[in-house]
């Protein structure tokens, strides 16, 4: 599990953030990004010594000033749910990709489709896509959209 996924999941939850300068911020996480920059709402700031306190409606903290974040224990269980969901989604994306290859099959007339399916391996794809390209522009266009097929198209040209 990635620390930033946990942080992302903690959106909307209360948390404590300690900065490198020792100040702490208690607030609800509104948003965060891949740099750990965070946006908190309903914040209470505590000075390093813990002797002064400020209330602020919201604040933005640059990620690289953070020392650590304390998040509610239950958040970790929610992340696990989300990662499961994401790994569920992955095969569907792959499946969709293959499906698209076959769809191009129809557009590209016959063999061009092999270029689409070849998306699994670049070499294979290139060779098949190249052939597709040489045969018909429809196949070349189809290969182009499947990513690796772009190499195939250029090969087609060099042939």
């Amino acid at each position: 599990m990635l620390p930033l996924s946990l942080l992302k999941t903690a959106q909307g939850h209360p948390m404590l953030v300690e900065l490198k300068n020792g100040e702490t911020y208690n607030g609800h996480l509104v948003n965060c990004d891949t740099w750990m920059n965070i946006h908190l709402r309903e914040v209470i700031c505590t000075s390093k010594d813990g002797d002064r306190f400020w209330r602020m409606p919201e604040c933005y903290i640059r990620g690289n000033t953070i020392k650590y974040l304390r998040v509610p224990d239950e958040v970790i269980d929610k992340v696990q749910e989300e990662t499961v969901k994401r790994s569920d989604r992955k095969p569907t994306i792959g499946g969709r990709g293959r499906g698209r290859g076959r769809a191009e099959d129809g557009v590209g007339r016959g063999r061009g489709g092999e270029g689409g399916r070849g998306g699994r391996g670049y070499q294979e794809d290139g060779a098949a896509g190249g052939r597709g390209g040489a045969r018909g522009s429809g196949g070349a266009r189809g290969g182009g959209r499947s990513g690796g097929g772009r190499g195939g198209a250029s090969r087609g040209r060099s042939q």
Partner: protein
């Protein structure tokens, strides 16, 4: 740096939309311990900020990490983005008495 972040992650939005703070008072903490407040006149994606009528919260001469209530006028300034640690609106920000029963709080509950 910010641009890279946007490019790499594919995320278009920065965490905080500073547009809503334009022409409003903001308090900015800078790395190194300085703290300034002023009216936000402009900003960019690198978090460089333009503050008008800025004042710096002067710090304790013994402990430069502590701010005091003394201020000094700076006028119109640019805060370098890389040095900006924290941005908060001054509106609604106030010093309060200890809101926690003990100093160390089980905050994340």
């Amino acid at each position: 740096m910010w641009g890279l972040c946007v490019g790499k992650s594919g995320r278009k939005e920065t965490v905080l939309d500073l547009a809503k703070f334009v022409d409003r008072g903001v308090s900015v903490k800078l790395s190194g311990g300085r703290q300034v407040t002023g009216t936000l006149k402009g900003y960019d994606q690198l978090l460089n900020l333009v503050l008008d009528e800025a004042t710096e919260n002067l710090r304790d001469s013994d402990d430069p990490l502590k701010t005091t209530d003394q201020m000094r006028q700076l006028g119109l300034i640019v805060c370098r983005g890389t040095a900006v640690m924290l941005v908060a609106p001054t509106d609604g920000t106030e010093e309060i008495a200890n809101p926690f029963l003990a100093n160390e709080t089980p905050a994340a509950t």
